[in-house]
């Protein structure tokens, strides 16, 4: 997956977690949780969904790496390149 594809995947996962939220104006360089109502439990589900779908393990200490779409793509790209 490319970084763009990774961002689209994350967006799709978020849409699944909070289906009523409008994600079309989400800025990729601002923390996701500052832009949509996503609590820490919802945030955990992004990580769980990545594990469930792609077998990617994100250790607890790295959760902050997924704060923005850009930082998520940068962090996940080496792990998802082959997918």
């Amino acid at each position: 997956m490319t970084k763009e594809q990774i961002k689209d995947t994350i967006l799709e996962i978020i849409a699944q977690i909070i289906p009523d939220e409008d994600l079309s104006n989400l800025k990729s360089d601002i923390p996701i949780r500052e832009q949509v109502e996503l609590d820490s439990m919802d945030f955990l589900d992004i990580i769980m969904e990545l594990r469930k779908r792609y077998g990617i393990e994100v250790p607890e200490d790295d959760y902050m790496q997924l704060a923005t779409l850009d930082s998520s793509a940068a962090y996940l790209e080496p792990r998802m390149r082959e997918l």
């Binding site: 009523d20 594990r51 994100v58």
Partner: protein, 461 residues
């Protein structure tokens, strides 16, 4: 390993934890010693009538569309839709003391106005209390424990108002005698006054059905009539689990919703003296009365009434079998259902003394149930219409019944007063969820299961 996670107890918290874990691919098994799921919130049939145990009303009700509240939070976590529980909001509930009545519904502003109208001199103080509650982070698992009685009396100077606020919050979830931890107070205040009451048309059955179906659809395994006999520990961990049917299981982690002391009792080498201080004392008796008509036909439209027959409010283990001086009158018919329930019903709950009930012989036990019912009804008709001539069927459960079906020591439905908020025990792979972890009510129990599953299993790689 037989399973990644074994969950003890198929109540609200165990099932919710199970759904989370199974949904995210863990191999999970829930063992339930009763033949039916539900634990402290279950159901039964008797004499052709359907009864619920526990659930009078589900607290934390918010309408569809509200996002940042416990109920929508738990629906998202369990991948359920708001419609799945089919919750119907209450009509109107009341707190009745001899000289004052405070009404509340699911509109919080209505309750605030009731307080202002009935206690005009406390209006500013009440606003101050609301600010304190809103600013308090009750979900912080590491918060310092403070006395709610102290906090509230430092703000509200009229003890009657203070007692009237405490009455429903204590009856609906407090494990401590006379006082309450402020975090619990804030949770209960929000869940009952700021949010509100609702009930599915089919009662607790509907919620349990949804949970069990979801759990199984995610691949979870459920074994009923399957009790844990003992937990074998070594090197600070549970090594294996012996079931009463003789089977031995090995698992990576265990989440127990059986209660804190109840779980400790399963350990080999259990030393009761270490855990006595954690034993809960508060239990209840419930009188369930089937009526030959809807209570609304008698002009009674109240959903839940919290009554107390003096200005003092004592919430403690009574010196007698039952304390009829205060209690809860629940009318399951008085929710905004699409279709009326099939029968009229009134449920009355009072504090009761487990030891005294437990001591009675079979005949005397039966006789005392009838005596206590009469005494309670005499009190209750001061706060509701006299429906005694309309009763066509009665069932009564006591602290002894609760103990028999749930295994809770002393029949203490709200468990230990010392909650294990982090869920951790002295053993590395054994965690507590449900009532004794400390999120209260049905929504709270489910959130407890969810957060303990998240914290102790899913977040660990």
């Amino acid at each position: 390993m037989d399973y990644d996670v074994l969950i003890i107890g198929a109540g609200m918290s165990g099932l919710a934890a199970g759904i989370r874990l199974a949904y995210y691919g863990k191999k999970v098994c829930i063992v339930e010693k009763h033949y039916r799921v539900g634990g402290l919130n279950s159901f039964y049939n008797l004499g052709g009538h359907e009864f619920d145990v526990g659930l009078h009303a589900m607290t934390n009700y918010v309408p569809k569309g509200v996002k940042l509240a416990p109920l929508p939070k738990l629906l998202r976590q369990l991948k359920l839709k708001a419609e799945d529980f089919g919750l119907c909001p209450q009509r109107m509930s009341v707190i009745k003391f001899p000289d004052k009545t405070l009404r509340f519904n699911n509109e919080f502003d209505f309750f605030v106005q009731e307080v202002v109208d009935n206690f005009p001199r406390q209006a500013d103080n009440f606003q101050k209390l609301l600010k304190t509650i809103v600013e308090y982070d009750e979900l912080n698992l590491y918060a310092k424990l403070i006395s709610a009685r102290e906090v509230v009396s430092s703000i509200i100077s009229d003890p009657l108002l203070s007692n009237m606020i405490f009455c429903p919050l204590m009856f609906y979830g407090n494990a401590q005698e006379n006082d309450m931890e402020f975090g619990q107070f804030a949770i209960m205040f929000k869940s009952i006054f700021c949010e509100g009451f609702a009930r599915p048309q089919a009662g607790v059955r509907q919620i349990l059905d949804v949970l069990v179906k979801k759990y199984k659809a995610c691949g979870g395994e459920l074994k009923v009539r399957c009790a844990v006999a003992s937990l074998k520990c070594a090197n600070g961990k549970i090594e294996s689990i012996l079931l009463e049917n003789g089977e031995v299981l090995t698992v990576d982690r265990i989440l127990s919703s059986a209660g804190y002391v109840e779980t400790m009792k399963l350990l080999n080498g259990y030393d009761s003296s270490k855990f006595n201080c954690h034993v809960g004392q508060l239990s209840f008796v419930e009188f369930i009365l089937i009526l030959n008509k809807e209570p609304a036909e008698m002009g009674y439209n109240t959903t839940i009434a919290f009554y107390n027959n003096s200005d003092r409010f004592d919430y403690r283990k009574p010196d007698d079998l039952v304390d009829a001086s205060s209690g809860v009158i629940c009318c399951p018919n008085n929710f905004q259902f699409e279709n009326p329930l099939s029968e009229g019903m009134i449920r009355i709950t009072n504090l009761a003394n487990f030891d005294l009930w437990d001591r009675l012989g079979e005949e005397e036990y039966k006789a005392q149930k009838a005596v206590c019912l009469e005494a309670t009804l005499k009190e209750v008709v001061k706060f509701a219409p006299d429906f005694r001539d309309s009763i066509i069927f009665t069932d009564i459960f006591t602290p002894k019944t609760i103990h028999r079906f749930t295994g809770r020591i002393n029949g203490a439905v709200y468990g230990t007063p010392n909650k294990t908020k982090t869920g951790r025990t002295h053993l590395d792979n054994l965690f507590i969820c449900g009532t004794d972890q400390g999120f209260l009510g049905i929504v709270g129990a489910m959130l407890s299961g969810i957060s303990m599953a998240n914290l102790h299993v899913l977040q660990k790689v």
